[in-house]
């Protein structure tokens, strides 16, 4: 996935409008949720922070080299903007001990997004819903979308292929990789919390 994300950034730098749309649609919602969780559910604050994050990221987009997953790279900017927002608003950061803020888990999510192997661990417990969504946000956007379409919306493989603008065979392959990526990432997250 690293190579795909580098290509996406490269297309953006060439001024490709489709690439920008793919980038924004793929990464903005996850980034918004990332900020929303850390700002205590304050939607206005999350919007302001993510807008600042996007602005900063666009100014530095030419420096992205693919060493980390693009979402992880964006989260780095987002953390900085959250801290700045809280300083200016004289507000304390929400301290909820987010499991994905753990460096080991963040690294596991990043490695997952790059398509690398991650350690197996047993699925155990709590915060399941939030963890599932955190894992989905950490996946490459196509993987997360394909999983939601398949299992939440109940879409057929043909419908998923149509939405991904690809063949049925390629959609099946995407679903297989997405399931594997999800399984590994969720196992790591759940295992770290156990």
């Amino acid at each position: 996935m690293g190579s795909d994300e580098r290509q996406l950034v490269s297309r953006m730098l060439s001024g490709d409008e489709h690439a920008f749309a793919e980038f924004f649609d793929g990464y903005f919602p996850g980034l918004y949720r990332f900020a929303l969780t850390r700002l205590g559910g304050d939607e206005d604050a999350a919007e302001e922070v993510v807008q600042a994050t996007m602005g900063a990221a666009m100014r530095k987009i030419g420096t992205y080299r693919g060493e980390s997953a693009l979402f992880t790279w964006l989260c780095t900017f987002c953390r900085h903007e959250i801290a700045r927002f809280c300083r200016h608003a004289r507000r304390d950061l929400v301290s909820v001990g987010l499991v994905e803020d753990d460096p080991a888990i963040a690294a596991a999510l990043a490695s997952l997004a790059r398509g690398e192997s991650a350690q197996e661990a047993a699925l155990e417990r709590a915060e399941t819903r939030r963890l599932v969504h955190v894992v989905l946000d950490g996946l490459p956007p196509r993987y997360a979308a394909a999983l939601e379409w398949k299992y939440v919306d109940g879409s057929s493989v043909q419908e998923i292929a149509d939405r991904l603008e690809t063949s049925v065979k390629a959609a099946e392959s995407t679903l297989t990789r997405a399931r594997e990526a999800f399984r590994r990432s969720f196992a790591v997250l759940a295992g770290e919390r156990a």
Binding site: M12, L13, S14, G15, F20, F24, F28, P29, G30, Y32, R33, L36, E43, E47, V50, Q51, A52, M54, G55, M58, R59, I61, G62, T128, R129, V132, H133, L136, D137, L147, E148, K150, Y151, V152, R179, F182, R183, F186
Partner: protein, 302 residues
């Protein structure tokens, strides 16, 4: 149990929280503008690296007066700062020259702004007096600043606190006034032109005043020096944007007009066109705007 456990888990937890459409639209617009700005900045940088290194060099302040030769102007009294250059090909002594693709924006010590269009040659006669030998120059003198004088082979143009442009085309001179007034003197004839009027002087020295067409000012926006947004108020930004287009700001809501000076903006609009900058600032401030017959109309987003 044959059911896919991942499927069960995803079905049980449901969809992720969706981002409200209007929030997404606002952030998308801001991100898109930032992206376009970065793409534009990189393209400009490549162009400069490709052969217009001189343009980059003159982006820093250049003290033209250093090699000034006019006996009427003290050297230290006539500096011109090059605020922006997209191809100022010559900056020697008292002559400024742009090529077929070049433009430049300069500011005199007195605050008067000058912008040079393509294929323009402008000689500096003093800190408030210039001679247009070819092409076109746009002048913006804020109220209270010292007046400027533009000499041409056809006539002398003296401003009276205004925005105007002077263009030599073939053997003819056209002076167009967007704000304030200018006096155009050709030989013994002198005509005063007010906002919305134009004066032409042909090769035979005949002088005529007409109503001005609205179009033909776009190039002055294209070479406008950057507005440093960070920390400035919304009122300052809107006043600048409106002035760049020869317009005035009108707030739909008097309460918004009262709040605008206290709304502090952050970020940068470097590299954006005027339209992109206004769209970005208003959208991210929860405002809407439109350009309407000489007015920049601003109101709260519905």
């Amino acid at each position: 149990m044959t059911e896919d456990p991942i499927g069960s888990l995803l079905r049980a937890t449901g969809r992720r929280v969706a981002v409200p459409e209007e929030r997404s639209a606002r952030v998308r617009e801001a991100a898109r503008v930032a992206w376009q700005r970065e793409v534009g900045r990189r393209r400009r940088r490549r162009r400069i690296a490709g052969g217009l290194a001189l343009a980059a060099a003159v982006l820093v302040a250049v003290w033209v007066a250093r090699s000034f030769r006019s006996p009427h102007v003290p050297l230290a009294a006539a500096p011109l700062v090059v605020e922006r250059s997209d191809g100022l090909t010559e900056l020697q002594g008292s002559t400024l020259r742009t090529g077929a693709d070049g433009r430049a924006a300069l500011r005199a010590r007195g605050g008067q702004a000058l912008r040079l269009d393509h294929d323009t040659t402008l000689r500096i006669l003093s800190d408030r007096s210039f001679r247009l030998e070819r092409g076109a120059v746009y002048v913006d003198v804020l109220p209270g600043a010292a007046p400027l004088r533009i000499e041409t082979p056809r006539a002398v143009v003296e401003e009276r606190g205004t925005q105007f442009q002077v263009r030599l085309s073939g053997g003819d001179l056209a002076v167009r006034v967007r704000e304030g007034a200018v006096a155009v003197t050709a030989g013994s004839a002198s005509v005063l032109a007010a906002a919305g009027q134009a004066v032409t002087v042909d090769g035979g020295g005949r002088i005529a005043r007409t109503a001005d067409a609205a179009a033909g000012w776009e190039w002055t926006e294209a070479i406008a020096p950057p507005f440093l947004l960070e920390g400035r108020s919304l009122a300052d930004f809107l006043a600048w944007a409106a002035r760049e287009r020869g317009a005035r700001v009108r707030f739909l809501d008097p309460a918004l007009a009262g709040r605008a000076p206290g709304i502090v903006l952050h970020g940068s609009i470097d590299g954006m066109t005027l339209d992109q900058a206004v769209a970005s600032v208003t959208a991210t401030s929860g405002l809407v705007h439109r350009w309407d017959r000489g007015e920049l109309v601003v109101g709260a987003a519905p």
